[in-house]
């Protein structure tokens, strides 16, 4: 699987980017940053990028590179946690909607339609507005926003798998519903689900940055990519590195997840699997 990703051209790039980000975030979490991300070097305020501060310092003299590393960790933490929550709840809802059908299917899918009717960021804003800003709120909000996509991705194939003969065969053995749902349905949906998880990570990353940018996600002084971008607005002309560093970081991160998702889709799709050795 890992080998297949690195044989795929866009998988190599996407996988590489994600891996580098994970390493940076790991180092940031362990405190192995060039400087203390919260330390304010008052004398070196708005220091341009150079040998001492690789990506420069901000208005308070804090090291951008160190803050980015911790910020990536923060964004990844929110993205992974929220996508994990969205995927598990969405999958359970999609599977049960397809299996039970009738009223439950109607209730679940119409609720998902309502959620999908709102733009992601707007819906997230609504939830944050109700629950108050913070890291955990953004996890919850992003999870909620992306859950309907998983429900849909799972329900479609589950509906068609449900009518396959091996499911009928399982019912003639008297297999439990749980066994049929996990072994016969879920196992056959793992491929599209994996692709969806990767792509959702990219969106979650963007939504997290958006929420922080609006001051509703991670709260200062903790570093976060969106927050750093927000802080740079007024200094765009005097200190462009303040904006370029987090902006490019977000962009490349999303690109990485998207490329990885594309590669996974090709690798896991049995129709294209034959063509690639």
């Amino acid at each position: 699987m890992i080998r297949a990703i690195f044989h795929h051209p866009s998988g190599r790039i996407g996988g590489g980017i994600v891996l580098v980000y994970l390493v940076l975030a790991g180092l940031g979490a362990l405190g192995l940053t060039p400087h203390d991300p919260l330390m304010q070097y008052r004398l070196d305020r708005l220091h341009p990028p150079g040998a001492a501060y690789w990506l420069g310092t901000d208005l308070f003299g804090r090291d951008i590179a160190s803050r980015l590393m911790v910020g990536i960790g923060q964004s990844f933490f929110v993205a992974f946690l929220s996508v994990a929550a969205a995927a598990s709840v969405g999958t359970v809802l999609g599977l049960t909607a397809a299996w039970v059908g009738r009223l439950w299917d109607g209730v679940v899918m119409r609720s998902m339609d309502v959620l999908l009717a709102f733009p992601a960021i707007l819906l997230a804003l609504l939830i944050v507005a109700i629950m108050g800003p913070g890291t955990w709120t953004s996890v919850l909000a992003i999870a909620f926003v992306y859950m309907p996509i998983f429900t849909r991705v799972v329900r479609g194939p589950a509906l068609s798998l449900k009518t396959r003969e091996f499911v009928d065969a399982a019912r003639t053995f008297g297999s439990s519903t749980r066994y049929i749902l996990t072994r016969h349905l879920l196992l056959n949906i793992v491929a599209p689900l994996t692709v969806q998880v990767t792509l959702a990570l990219a969106w979650a990353l963007l939504t997290e940055a958006g929420l922080s940018f609006l001051g509703l996600g991670t709260q200062p002084p903790a570093p976060s990519l969106g927050l750093m971008l927000s802080d740079s607005r007024n200094l765009m002309e005097t200190a462009p590195w303040l904006m370029i560093a987090p902006g490019v970081t977000i962009m490349i991160g999303i690109l990485g997840f998207n490329l990885l998702g594309d590669a996974l889709r090709d690798i896991l799709d049995p129709k294209t699997r034959g063509g690639r050795a």
Binding site: R171, G174, N188
Partner: protein
């Protein structure tokens, strides 16, 4: 006059067509008005050969690597098909070479009426328009004996049955008066009585129009009724060709002999098994008794949700089954035979009594005494599970864990169905169709059932594989004393394996009894119709009379109860439903 001359044809697929050759050197000549039948099992290259004749193979990724195909055109010119450009081929397709395919349901556009599509064919190929096109379309449908043509022209494809659609396809191909008709398994997707009608139609049209025909089939029994010459293909080569009588009566090649031998020929009950447990007169207690089984599907009007009526899919079906016995259930698609089986397994809701007396008295009897083997071995195995997980599933379902005893049983059953015992870690896609069906049989036997329902269990397999699986089933029956409920549309196969036969028509059993008795002296008119439609290798160029009667709708108003049937006792173990003589 030679219409088509093929010599040394090689066709390959993929990036390196030389390496991926599917047809390896096929030569034949076809005279105008002659019919050539190409017979072979799946993968023999028979369809690819046919698709090469009008170069449709190009669109499927195939390349003609060697050989020549010389087609004499209507104006007397000879066209080298292998060298012709696409523009020339477009003129040849349709106008010179017409083609009909296996699946008529997917060959017509579902959102246009049949009439519109027929008129389109005439507009494009003959330049007719308006009323002239409509009249021509009506004529063409008349020619393929579609009853009530005026009304049918306004119907959409989904309103027509498979046999009707295949007639429409034939009519639209004939619209351009092709000089050669290629029929690629045109009746494989159809019921046996419909198949007989289509075969009769093709035979009559051939005589009327004088066109040549290439008829591709896997069923050597069909060939006898229509072909002048026969070509047998195996692994991309023509292993034998010659006149019909020569090939069928004096086959030279081993493979032809094998095909003729492997195909079960219907023998009017003479080939029925005589080792039935009821033969001695004192039969054991039945292992399964089905009494008045009824399955109805409510049809709802969407908005008001009031029942519009019910589809009576299975109506008062009763039979019993003793250990070691096979009951063959025959009938056409839509007759309710599969629904009845699914009801017995509890897959659809039903009424009536199902009793399994005696099932629990045997030592080590299973908690699930009825197991099922499905038609399609590719669809009935989860592609993501290993053989071990697949075989373990019935055991896990009963709440047991996988211990050494279970593993020992897996190994024993795998050996019994002739699969390697070291294949436990492999996945279904690593096996052939026949091997998968053996795997399904082993899985059904994991719980030591007393009854196995075989729903078209050998229909999807090639004839030679089919013969071996049938042998295995008979052996397993003797060894474990299994009772089989063998559901099939193929009378010849049923004759080989069944001790008793139940004929199902429109959800009801119309005739039931000893296999030899039912097949040799059918009483009910439907049974007779079914038997007379079975293709037979000894019935050369015998025309089947066209019968266009179809099964009426099974939709009944709510609360409708059909009258009780009267039964006629025909023999000691042979009953038929009484028919209205009026």
């Amino acid at each position: 006059m030679t219409l088509l001359s093929v010599s040394g044809l090689h066709v390959g697929f993929g990036r390196d067509p030389k390496a991926g050759e599917v047809v390896r050197g096929v030569s034949f000549d076809l005279a105008a008005g002659q019919t050539l039948a190409i017979v072979g099992e799946s993968g023999s290259g028979k369809s690819v050969t046919a698709l090469s004749l009008n170069r449709l193979v190009d669109f499927g990724g195939g390349t003609i690597t060697e050989g020549s195909i010389r087609l004499t055109r209507a104006d007397g010119d000879v066209l080298e098909v292998t060298q012709a450009d696409e523009a020339a081929m477009t003129r040849v397709r349709g106008a010179e070479i017409g083609m009909i395919f296996q699946e008529p349901m997917t060959s017509l556009n579902p959102v246009l009426t049949v009439g519109a599509q027929m008129e389109e064919a005439f507009r494009l190929h003959r330049g007719l328009a308006g009323a002239a096109a409509r009249a021509a379309a009506k004529d063409a449908l008349d020619r393929v004996r579609i009853p009530d043509v005026a009304r049918r022209l306004g119907d959409y494809p989904h309103q027509l049955s498979g046999g009707m659609l295949q007639r429409v396809m034939i009519a639209s191909v004939l619209a351009c008066n092709p000089r050669l008709l290629i029929a690629d398994e045109p009746t494989t997707a159809l019921d046996v009585t419909v198949q007989a009608q289509i075969m009769a139609l093709l035979g009559e049209l051939k005589q009327e129009t004088g066109m040549a025909m290439i008829f591709i089939t896997h069923d050597i029994g069909l060939v006898a009724g229509i072909a002048d010459r026969v070509m047998v293909m195996q692994d991309g080569r023509a292993v034998e060709q010659g006149a019909l009588a020569e090939v069928l009566d004096h086959p030279q090649h081993d493979y032809t002999r094998h095909l003729l031998h492997a195909v079960p020929h219907f023998a009017n009950g003479r080939a029925a098994r005589q080792d039935g447990p009821r033969a001695g007169g004192a039969a054991a207690a039945p292992v399964l008794t089905v009494q008045d089984l009824v399955v109805r599907f409510p049809v709802k009007r969407r908005m008001f949700a009031r029942a519009k009526g019910e589809i009576h899919a299975v109506e008062r079906v009763s039979f019993d089954l003793v250990p070691g016995e096979t009951l063959g259930i025959v009938g056409e698609s839509g007759s309710g035979k599969s629904t009845a089986a699914r009801a017995i397994l509890g897959l659809v809701r039903s009424r009536g009594t199902l009793a399994l007396p005696g099932a629990d008295t045997r030592a080590g009897a299973s908690q699930r005494p009825v197991q099922m083997v499905f038609q399609n071995p590719y669809a009935s195995l989860n592609p993501r599970l290993t053989v071990e997980s697949l075989l373990a599933e019935p055991v896990i379902a009963t709440g047991h864990g996988i211990d050494d005893a279970v593993r020992a049983r897996m190994a024993q059953l795998l050996a019994r169905v002739d699969l390697p015992t070291n294949c436990l870690g492999r996945y279904p896609h690593e096996f052939s169709g026949g091997q998968r069906q053996r795997l399904c049989i082993a899985r059904a036997l994991m719980l030591n059932p007393s009854v196995v329902v075989l729903d078209e269990a050998v229909s999807a397999l090639d004839v030679s594989v089919q013969a071996r699986v049938l042998e295995l089933l008979v052996d397993l029956q003797r060894e474990f004393g299994l009772a089989y409920l063998f559901i099939s549309h193929d009378m010849a196969v049923v004759e080989r394996i069944a001790h008793r036969i139940a004929v199902v028509h429109a959800g009801q059993i119309v005739e039931i009894g000893d296999a030899a008795a039912v097949l040799s002296a059918p009483r009910h008119s439907y049974t007779r119709r079914l038997i007379s439609a079975v293709p037979n290798i000894d019935r050369r160029h015998v025309r089947f009379t066209l019968d266009t009667s179809t099964v009426g709708s099974l939709l009944r108003p709510p609360g409708y109860e059909p009258p009780m049937a009267d039964w006629v006792q025909v023999g000691p173990d042979h009953r038929a439903r009484a028919e209205d003589t009026a």
